[in-house]
Symmetry: C2
Subunit: 222 residues, 2 copies
DNA sequence: CTATATAGCTGACCGACGGTCATTTCAATC
DNA sequence: GATTGAAATGACCGTCGGTCAGCTATATAG
């Protein structure tokens, strides 16, 4: 138990500080999964963990930097799950299905991805932002490599696919982020609208169109 | 000048109230274009117009309802501009280009569209939300009609195109919403990343892929 | 023309937020 | 056991969206 930092102890060595930072992140993610982005309060998180609010700000400069770090973690985690789920010679539909289901299964990843550019990246210091972009680049490369094999595409095509899937994922899951209207009485036209924006088929259909489009461009260029 | 409501006068008739509401919206949009979503403060807007903060809340229940109304207006405005810009027998690329440039030209539309589901629609009363969705449906229909002619597609295909263009637009313009890094020194890999997510080519390339995909699905089903 | 009633308008006030920093307290070192 | 430096603290700050009892401009009645 020597390396564990009890809640009332101080983290003095670099190791102990890393542990504490990790503990804060873990608690933050649990809390985030409970209440979501908008209701996430630093003061309440502090009370939950039993640390003073000021202590957080020793480990993260801003609330958004905390979110950026959670995003980074969830990106890395999801990438691994997705890559592990790929196999050789998949159809583009099966590929898109895997991508969507693995991303949806992670309760942190999508809500943070969707808010990344217009909320989180503001109020984060530039060097931290740069390092985050570099993590992103690394993950795109790793996913593209696996994609190249799974979909029998060139490396360049695979990178194009991966980037575009990200764009599409953000757009297609937008509807899932609205307020829950499950228990509301809605007119039929609105119900139909919502149904027609169901994120999973929306994503998969268009992912297939895009992947096939990219495939055909290569053939046309021979 | 009888119907104009001076700033110190009271809006008593329905006409005058509508005028005042309109004046508030106009001032709000001007202010929004100045400072953007995050820095938009009801108190500051009040001072700008010379009305008390409480007065806003007679015309809009919440800050988000004000944004929802601005969004609605900008959607209607953009739809008209876009439809007017379409002509018969366009290539899918020309179509996508028109869509992107008209949407980008409206400083209000995209920033609000991107925040619609996960920020604005929360904190708006359900009936207001429903009426907003119905405005959306109406606009989609109008755009689809014009699209059907321009791209020589069936009505059903055109609706599919329009809905999907919306999804793609949100995803592709995400990068434009990040903090400005123009005057920052960035490592080359990050610069390349940002360049490769340039929203205009990103949108147009994939719009073409999707439109052509939709076209081909119809041929395949004959 | 004045008195009354109605309702548009006001802004001090509320609780909660993210963030700060002078002070306290713990633990490693001498 | 004394010293010291840094980790931890939480009262405090300015600002936010939102409220509502009181104020007053205006339409109407007499």
């Amino acid at each position: 138990m020597s390396s564990v930092v009890a809640i009332n102890q101080r983290a003095r060595s670099a190791d102990q500080k890393a542990l504490r930072r990790h503990a804060v992140l873990e608690a933050a993610e649990t809390y985030f999964l409970e209440v979501g982005y908008e209701a996430f309060s630093m003061s309440k998180l502090a009370k939950k963990i039993g640390l003073a609010k000021g202590t957080f700000y020793l480990y993260f400069q801003t609330r958004e930097e905390l979110f950026l770090t959670l995003y980074e973690q969830s990106l890395i985690r999801w990438s691994q799950v997705f890559i592990d789920g790929l196999s050789d010679s998949m159809t583009s539909e099966a590929y898109a299905q895997k991508l969507f289901s693995s991303a949806s299964a992670d309760g942190t990843f999508l809500p943070l991805l969707i808010r990344l550019e217009h909320m989180i990246e503001h109020n984060v210091a530039i060097p931290r932002l740069i390092s985050s972009k570099q993590v992103f680049i690394k993950q795109v490369k790793a996913i593209a490599e696996a994609t190249s094999i799974s979909l029998s595409l060139s490396e360049a095509q695979a990178i194009e696919v991966v980037k575009t899937m990200g764009v599409l994922l953000i757009g297609a899951t937008q509807g899932d982020q609205g307020p829950s209207l499950d228990h509301e009485e809605l007119p039929e036209d609105v119900q139909n609208l919502i149904a027609s924006f169901s994120s999973e088929p929306l994503f998969i259909k268009n992912a297939v169109r895009i992947i096939e489009g990219i495939r055909m461009e290569a053939v046309a260029n021979i």
